[in-house]
Symmetry: C2
DNA sequence: TCTATATTTCCGGTAGAATCGAAATATGTT
DNA sequence: AACATATTTCGATTCTACCGGAAATATAGA
């Protein structure tokens, strides 16, 4: 039972991972996160990352399809923002799949790890 | 400065996401996690998921290359296991990228969310 | 060595993804 | 309406991923 629902889930998450699994798109998501929650207009992304407009448009379309970014129009500009809910969903999925299993880490450890890697990141920069 | 290192990181994580971004491979990782930490022989995975041997071999090779699975030989069998460290790394990356930003969620909330989704999952099954 | 089993490598076919210039569309301004 | 700018859609090309049968390799046992 619930096989169909499970199948849909796997397909959906695979698609989300695939959307992040291309260098230009991962860059886009990262960039949008630095600009969160205001986001960036397509043209700004284009300029920042040096991606041709038409190519960028395809990537944004893909990210939008997989719900990793949201978009709102303001005049002739399209403002893209990262969909942090979707990213949290991915984290939860990974956490559910990975970290509740047998020997895997405890929630409290996860926080410790997250904090220490943040500290480490800041130390290195 | 550190542009090169950052580039490498993005490329690496994009490759990891891409490895998880194919339905058969996401299934494989999930299956290996259910069998963690013992893992499964390639033939068992093949039988369980109904993937032809050569195709499966390609997928496992990809996952191995991106360090998402480990492998050990035992006689003629190759035992594959999920690399939970790599999965934790992905969680930390996403957490770092996503959840330390502006309005994003706090570590303590992350645990709450993770726990409640686990509870919800168990309720549904 | 011969046989059996597990798995990979080889090879070719095919579908889909990524790319980007050019043309089309959308919106706002004068 | 004409023009300017932002972005998408079109069209064509190239590249890469996925797939799976057949052959090769690895290991163990008789």
């Amino acid at each position: 039972m619930f096989k169909a629902r499970d199948t849909e889930q796997v397909i959906r998450y695979a698609a989300m991972f695939a959307a992040m699994g291309a260098e230009p798109r991962l860059r886009i998501v990262r960039l949008l996160l630095t600009a969160h929650p205001q986001g960036l207009a397509a043209g700004e992304i284009q300029e920042e990352l040096g991606i041709p407009a038409s190519t960028l448009s395809h990537h944004l379309e893909k990210l939008r399809t997989e719900e990793l970014v949201k978009v709102r129009r303001e005049g002739t500009f399209l403002w893209y923002t990262a969909n942090t809910e979707a990213l949290e969903e991915i984290i939860n999925f990974l956490y559910a799949e990975c970290c509740t299993r047998n020997k895997a880490i405890e929630p409290s450890d996860l926080v410790t790890i997250a904090k220490s890697s943040k500290a480490e990141r800041e130390r290195k920069s």
